[in-house]
Symmetry: C3
Subunit: 353 residues, 3 copies
Amino acid sequence: MDFTIKQIASLLEGNIIGDENAKVNQLAKIDEAAKEGSICFLANPKYENFIYTTQATAVIVKDDFQPKQNVSTTLLLVKDPYIAFTKLLEEYNKLAQQYNAHQRIGIEQPSFAGKNLHIGEGFYLGAFAYVGNDCEMGDDVKIYPHCFIGNNVKIGKGTIIHPGAKIYDNTQIGQYCSIHSGAIIGSEGFGFAPQADGTYKSIPQLGNVIIKDYVNIGANTTIDRATIGSTLIQEGVKLDNLIQIGHNVIIGEHTVMAAQAGVAGSTKIGKMCSIGGQVGIVNSVQIADYTQIGAKAGVNGNVKKPKTTIIGAPAMDFKNFMKSSVIFRKLPELQKRIEQLEEKILNLPPSKG
Amino acid sequence: MDFTIKQIASLLEGNIIGDENAKVNQLAKIDEAAKEGSICFLANPKYENFIYTTQATAVIVKDDFQPKQNVSTTLLLVKDPYIAFTKLLEEYNKLAQQYNAHQRIGIEQPSFAGKNLHIGEGFYLGAFAYVGNDCEMGDDVKIYPHCFIGNNVKIGKGTIIHPGAKIYDNTQIGQYCSIHSGAIIGSEGFGFAPQADGTYKSIPQLGNVIIKDYVNIGANTTIDRATIGSTLIQEGVKLDNLIQIGHNVIIGEHTVMAAQAGVAGSTKIGKMCSIGGQVGIVNSVQIADYTQIGAKAGVNGNVKKPKTTIIGAPAMDFKNFMKSSVIFRKLPELQKRIEQLEEKILNLPPSKG
Amino acid sequence: MDFTIKQIASLLEGNIIGDENAKVNQLAKIDEAAKEGSICFLANPKYENFIYTTQATAVIVKDDFQPKQNVSTTLLLVKDPYIAFTKLLEEYNKLAQQYNAHQRIGIEQPSFAGKNLHIGEGFYLGAFAYVGNDCEMGDDVKIYPHCFIGNNVKIGKGTIIHPGAKIYDNTQIGQYCSIHSGAIIGSEGFGFAPQADGTYKSIPQLGNVIIKDYVNIGANTTIDRATIGSTLIQEGVKLDNLIQIGHNVIIGEHTVMAAQAGVAGSTKIGKMCSIGGQVGIVNSVQIADYTQIGAKAGVNGNVKKPKTTIIGAPAMDFKNFMKSSVIFRKLPELQKRIEQLEEKILNLPPSKG
């Protein structure tokens, strides 16, 4: 798909300096070896040097950009180059998705479908995918190869289940979700009752997982079903890869969680929280709305006040942690200073008190 | 399946206040929207308020429970509501499992079985499952869709291999184990010999994995096979999701390990240990029996004394860590106090010593 | 396959004390119950006692080994027992691989191949594997059961894709790589643009993943594709299990990374670095060549100087961290000493200044 700079300028409401008829067919990064036929953007001034040497056909720049050297590429002047490029990405992606939605349609063989499968229009079931009994699929649901869908699963309109994801019985997934490859939804929670002799007995896990609309579940992320009731992932939640969500956890609307974080059983996380990579949160606590948790934090208690920012293990106020961390590095020096003080005190004349 | 409160009271050896003929068909949590037809339990006093408003048909309570307001739901009085409810869960689960064992039986097609497959009664092989040559399966083994079983694998009676688990060649799995979705058993250990030029050469990994009876392996957990000999998971071990077990590791009987923990190669962990989430243990160390390791600990040496409790990275005695952590938060204040002491000392009259 | 000690001595250029015609067919560890017919090695003096009781038919020992008791097993004297045993392992492995390469050949059915699949000699496609359109496979590529290969994927000579790995569209993989079970290559990066109302919008991820020659990707490891351009894993990189690599990350030649480490988007890691288990590295930083990062470190900034060794969260110089950690354990004592100093100062005669 070739586009002229003029076409793109019209989409982005930008002005052109250079050849408006030049054609591009690829998006590229200005600091990598962008080839002829590609279009880049310059938002961060520290990458400015690349604009004087790039082989890219065109570069999107801010409308007040003043070149310090000759520029041979065509410039496309816009109000905000980053936003403009994102818009371009989206348009490109829309075309790609339309292409994909058109390609991935119908039932590939061999695949396996149980009794009472209800499907909408535009449904795709990839080869080697397995769907159990009594499942309901909305319009444009795409189930890629090697997915396992248990019995009595409901999946909403426009949701994509990527290759090899496993969805256990009774799971409910909303509209326009992405469940990425290798994600395991609804596996048995880690519930074991200690016995008097030191062994453990499984506690039956009879609940399910409910995932609302516009949720993203990353690759190889695991979400356990509830013991009873539901593990609940609210609308708009974005989970990265390799995350663990325990049984009966509730994650509030539009909370995002970075890779390799883990949340233990029965914890409730508020809405619009931001949780860093490799964070761990213990079981049965409550995290207030808008909480920010820094990477690698170990959260071992409730966060009661919304908009709190914490980090560290055990987690504490972010700023205080940073201050304490700076002093942690100086502990050998501090210890020495205490020793010196002790020596000085020892050498003082005896108190008269 | 509907049950009367009378039937349940008989099972739990409880007394009824209310309608003994009321029927329930669902287990629910008292703090969630329990509907008519469901039965809940009240063990934790902080949930008592829910008993006055719940729509649940019956609630299991302790036999000395004194309501402070009118209760419209039927009460079932027992000695220990939590234990009673667990018993109910188990009975329910037993029925569900019987149903499942009855459903999941026989060989679904298409599936793939190599030469010399020995199977017992009640065997299930799901569609798209792959079994290599010379495998032995006990009675009631269930291999769900998309599982890969390599050559020369033995699986004991009653063990369930959930959808998409991968079991490499020569693995031995005992009786009544659960291997959850996406678990990888017996993959190549991470063995690379550094060469003089800074590159690495693979060390052949010729061993296997042995898993004893009553073991639980969580979703997407990985267990590497031994370089030579066996990586060994002893009877009753419970591993949560996304755990990494390195080559030649030995985990003792009835040890439990929470999600995202990792154990590096050749480490030996004792029996009945409890290991928290996101813990890391270095290679080639020994952890004594009954060791308790707190979440996120980084264990970089042997634990010689049984029943030790450690946490932190590097790991140390639990109580001392907690004390030190409290002071870590006050480091800026401590530094200030040292500065003040230094100032005061400076301002003192010169020592006569 | 039986070998005489004489044959093995010839391979390892060693001398025999004992029965040169004794036969072995198995490699074993001296500290485990090695049976007759097996051969072990003794490199670490702390295992010497085992040599006097082992049932192994032969043991490889250093050429200056002086037994302190009677030895009934045959001894094979070499310059370096560990290196000799490794050589033996390799020879054994070579035979096993030849056997395997010979076994795993051709197209198992049912499998799925799209349009325009180009394959080389010795190609294996396992049952239930799925290959999209326009893919190119070099000689001796082995694609095990349950693998998903998207459209337009190139895989170089001798590379093995283990059971259930998922390779998204447009991925390029070099020669002699191992992609282990459950690895997800090229899934959608975690890119979400925050909106004014607190919700998030997906940023299209249009790039791909490029993996060079001799790379090892561990079980259940996830590598996200680039937003635009390529996520790049350079030649000889070894990634362990359950690792997360974000979009647009670059990992330099022969860098090794232990299990459960994570690297956030757009970070560049130099060559021949060594990165410990459960390390986390934030997005958009640069790590110099030959950097050593200790287990569980949290790296939140650039590492500019090659050969730096860091650990801790936030990461700092390794030696300083160890010194500070020692004092961290003594913080309660330090606090007490400060209190004592304060008391002593209080009790001093007032300053005349």
